[in-house]
Each structure stands twice: as structure tokens, then as C-alpha cells.
Symmetry: C2
Subunit: 293 residues, 2 copies
């Protein structure tokens, strides 16, 4: 069994990006600039945004954090989105989700100029991902593809089971794994809450990508010998032994599943760090105008 | 075994649309107007476009056919697309594919205003389909969903195998079948040229949607007793007994597969007529500005 070290790969990619940024600067180019809008004070969102700002520093990007209180109106937020769309100094930006209930998340997402949509949530980027055209890829699936590539894991013709059909993980993950490209070219099955025999589906998989958000859902008897298991779950469970009062729990019963696997990602330190790195990759692409002019 | 009569359902839907159009006109509304651009004289394209024009008549739509010779430049075609985008009288339009090799099909597709893209090929419509938002659905998958709905075929929790991963059938079909909606909510597997044991995958399927374009690929021993089989294949094979010199051949070995099925579509007369009806449904939606304002 080999542990997939997302933390180490993420660190390595950030170094690669930082090197490229310094070359851009040396060549008289512009330092990539990512802006993030954070509304309210949700604990998870605060942590994510702080990590993103820190990653920007590590990559040599400029970052701008724009904060609003919970009571910002949809109109005010849309106005700010337009401002960022029109600001030539901002290469890409994100609006951290979730947003307060009085704001329509989809409306905000679609208001972002797709050429600056480094989260890859705009329908144009979603559609281009599905068709197989260059685009800003959704961060988590992009991070997983990078791990599969860097560990040289064979995907062509392999049976890949994706657990979960969310718009930001399950669906784009399935799209990428079925594309005629590598990694990809897999036979993909998407399972979800209505799948009749999910254990049986998993047992046939060469690659399992678990993104249900159900702690320890994938048990040892659901995994075949030698399978590759990618754990996207990051449910917070109470843990009084931690300073934070919680720990992150994956969708996979790691201790019992790991011995059967050829490769497995831990939680934390697997997919998580790669997700932020994907955002950095997109920001670099945005800065270089490599996907859209 | 019940035969799914796409021809009859298509005729019925066209009548429903015609009735609605007359109500719109009676209420002082505008008659939907579809334009089609046809470049060159490809036999298949000529037939498809003629069928679309005829279907418009049956639905009470206005149709405009714009013809160009093979030697039209990309620039000229793009100019015409812009003209149609800006013409308030045109509710929706299509550019019949394939286009001559010197024209970039993707560029043309993306130049079409997504609000008039009744083929549903623009990345915005592809992305919205994937996310599960209202959009112009790709015609063939939309037609298949309509057949499943009208025959009240259960899909929730069922195992659905999609054969083929094309951008216009396989991928959107998989997206629709996995959506949290009905028809849909199925466990979807997408198989393709690199799938290792495609027969085995098919044998486990409650629903097989064959869109490989390989005549008689699906044999009786690949289908389980009671399965639903949808045949998207329409390969032209030589047939000297026909006036046209060819007949349409499905992806399914119909004679041997049909006895095992609970439901099956014939070729022709199954999915084919529904594809054109889907275009009519989209044109009606475009005329009513029901999806986009």
C-alpha cells in the first residue's frame, strides 16, 4: 500500500508555480492577482479563505481579501462582482461559498466573468469541462487528476466508481475520468443516495473516488484488493482532544481499508491540500491569459 | 416486450406543440421562428434539415432555411451567425453539422447566442444541463428522456449503462440520467472504446442506451432479461433493395435482443423522430422566452 501524499505534492506544485511566477516577473510580466470575497464569519469558510491567502503568498501571487458582514444585500454583492470583473488588475476571483440564505448563490456564480472564474463554477467552464475544452477546472477534481498523474496511476480502461453526484465534485470528477485523455479514459460509474447496491458497485472498482460527505462510509468489505482509493470527505466531527474541538473525518474507514489498497489518500493531507493548489494553478493560468484572452 | 413507438409519440408531441402555438397566436403572441443554416450538400444533412423544416410546419412554426455552398468562409458564416443573434424575429437557430473542414465547428457553436442555441451545443447550455439548471437540452438525450417519461419507465435507482461518450449524446445522456429528478436518479455507467468488459457491464444494466454508432453492437447475450434498451444508432448501410440505396441500422441486434427486453426502441422509428421533436420543444421554449429572457 502506498500513501498518496497530497501535502507533499501540493508543496511541490506551489514551488513550481512560485518559480514560474518569478520567471514571469523577470520577463517583465505581471504578478498574478487573486481576489476572494468572504461574506460573514462561518468557521469553515474563514479557514479555507485564510489557507487560500497563505497559498497565494507561497506562490508569489498578490491576494486581496474582501470581507462583508452577513447582512450585505445581493445587489451590493453583485455590484462588487461587476467591479472585480471590470478591474484589469484582478486576474481571477472567487466568492467563498456558502453565502447567506438571502443571496442566490447561482446568480452570483453566473455574474462572475467566466474568464476570471478560477473556481470553475460558471456554466461556461462547467460546459467546457464536459466537452473536453480548455477551461478553469473545478478545484477538487482537478487536484485529484493531478494526484493520479503525479503518482502515475493507470486509469485507461479501469473501472472507476465515483460516490456522490455534487456539482463541484462528483459530476466534474466523472466527466474528467471518462474523457479521452490521460488521466481519464476510464469506465465511470456514478453512485449516489439512490444507488441500489453501492457496496457491490464499489467492490468492482479499480478506482474509488468517495465524495459523499458521510464519515467512514467506505468499509474494507466494499473495496477490492489492490484498488486505488481517493477520499474527498472532510466532515468535521467533534474531538475534545483537539484545540479546535473537532477533527476532519474522511468518507473512507481508512485504518481498515488502507491495507487492501494499492494507493490511498489520507484525510487530512490527501485531497484537501490539492484543492487549494488547483485554485493556484487556475490563478496562474488566468494571470497568463492562457485559457481565455 | 413492448415496442417504444417514437414515431407515434413524436407525432403526438408535435400536435401538442401546434395546439399551444395556436393558443399563443390567439392570445396575440408571436409565432415561433426557427432558422437553420445548411452549408454544402451532404446527403444526411439535407435529409435532417428537410425533416426539421417539415416538423416546423407541423408545429405551426415559421422556418427559414439559409443555404451556403461548401466554399463559404468561416468569417462569412460567423457574420451570418451574428446577424441571426441580433435578429429579434428569429427565436432560435441551428447550424447543421458537420461543417466543411476549413470551418471551426466549435468556434461557430460558441458564436451562437446561447439564448437562441436550440441545439443545446453552446457550453453554457451544456454546463447548465450538467448542473441541473433550466436550459436548451441536447436534442437526442432530451428525446430519450421524453420517451422514458411517456412510457412511464422506472429509472430511479436503476442501473443505466450508456454506451458511447460523445458530446452530443453519451455525455449529456449520462448527466440527465444521474440528475436528482425523474426520469433520472439512476446509477449511471458510461462505457466506451476503452472499456475492458463492455458485455459484462451491459449484462448488469436495467437500462441500456446504445450510442456508439456501431451497427448491431449490442447482442442478445449482452442484455439481461427484462432490460430496457434504447437504440441511438443510425448508421447508413448499403441496401440495394431500397430506392435510397441504404437503410438505417441501429447499434442493437434488434431481432435477437427484442425478445429479452421489457421495452425497446426500433431503428428507424424510435429515437430518431424524437430528436427532431426535441428541437421543436426547444424552439417553442425559445419563442416563449421560457428559459432565457
Amino acid at each position: 500500500m502506498q500513501l498518496i501524499d497530497g501535502k507533499a505534492i501540493a508543496a511541490q506544485i506551489k514551488k513550481e508555480i512560485a518559480t514560474e511566477v518569478e520567471q514571469i516577473i523577470a520577463g517583465g510580466g505581471k504578478r498574478p492577482h487573486l481576489a476572494a470575497i468572504l461574506v460573514g464569519h462561518d468557521g469553515g469558510s474563514e479557514t479555507y479563505v485564510a489557507s487560500k491567502v497563505k497559498a497565494c503568498e507561497e506562490c508569489g501571487f498578490i491576494s486581496t481579501l474582501i470581507r462583508y458582514e452577513e447582512d450585505i444585500t445581493e445587489e451590493q454583492l453583485l455590484y462588487k462582482v461587476q467591479e472585480l470583473n471590470n478591474d484589469p488588475d484582478i486576474d481571477g476571483f472567487i466568492v467563498q461559498l456558502p453565502l447567506p440564505k438571502h443571496i442566490d448563490e447561482q446568480k452570483i456564480t453566473e455574474a462572475i466573468d467566466y474568464r476570471k472564474d478560477v473556481d470553475g463554477f460558471h456554466p461556461i467552464n462547467v460546459g467546457r469541462l464536459s466537452i473536453g475544452l480548455p477551461c478553469f477546472l473545478s478545484a477538487t477534481p482537478n487536484g485529484i487528476m493531478e494526484l493520479l498523474a503525479r503518482y502515475d496511476i493507470e486509469t485507461k480502461g479501469k473501472k472507476c466508481v465515483v460516490l456522490g453526484r455534487s456539482n463541484i465534485v462528483g459530476k466534474p470528477m466523472a466527466s474528467l475520468m471518462m474523457q479521452k485523455s490521460l488521466p481519464g479514459d476510464a469506465t465511470v460509474t456514478v453512485c449516489h443516495s439512490h444507488t441500489e447496491n453501492i457496496a457491490e458497485e464499489c467492490r468492482k472498482a479499480d478506482i474509488i473516488i468517495a465524495a459523499l460527505g458521510q464519515p467512514h462510509f467506505v468499509k474494507a468489505d466494499m473495496v477490492k484488493e489492490g484498488a486505488v482509493v481517493i477520499d474527498v470527505g472532510t466532515t468535521r466531527v467533534n474531538d475534545d482532544t483537539r484545540k479546535s474541538g473537532f477533527r476532519l473525518c474522511g468518507d473512507v474507514d481508512f485504518d481498515n481499508v488502507a491495507p487492501k489498497c494499492s494507493y490511498i489518500t489520507p484525510v487530512p493531507g490527501g485531497v484537501g491540500p490539492m484543492t487549494i493548489v488547483s485554485l493556484m494553478k487556475n490563478t496562474l493560468l488566468a494571470g497568463k491569459r492562457e485559457i481565455y484572452k
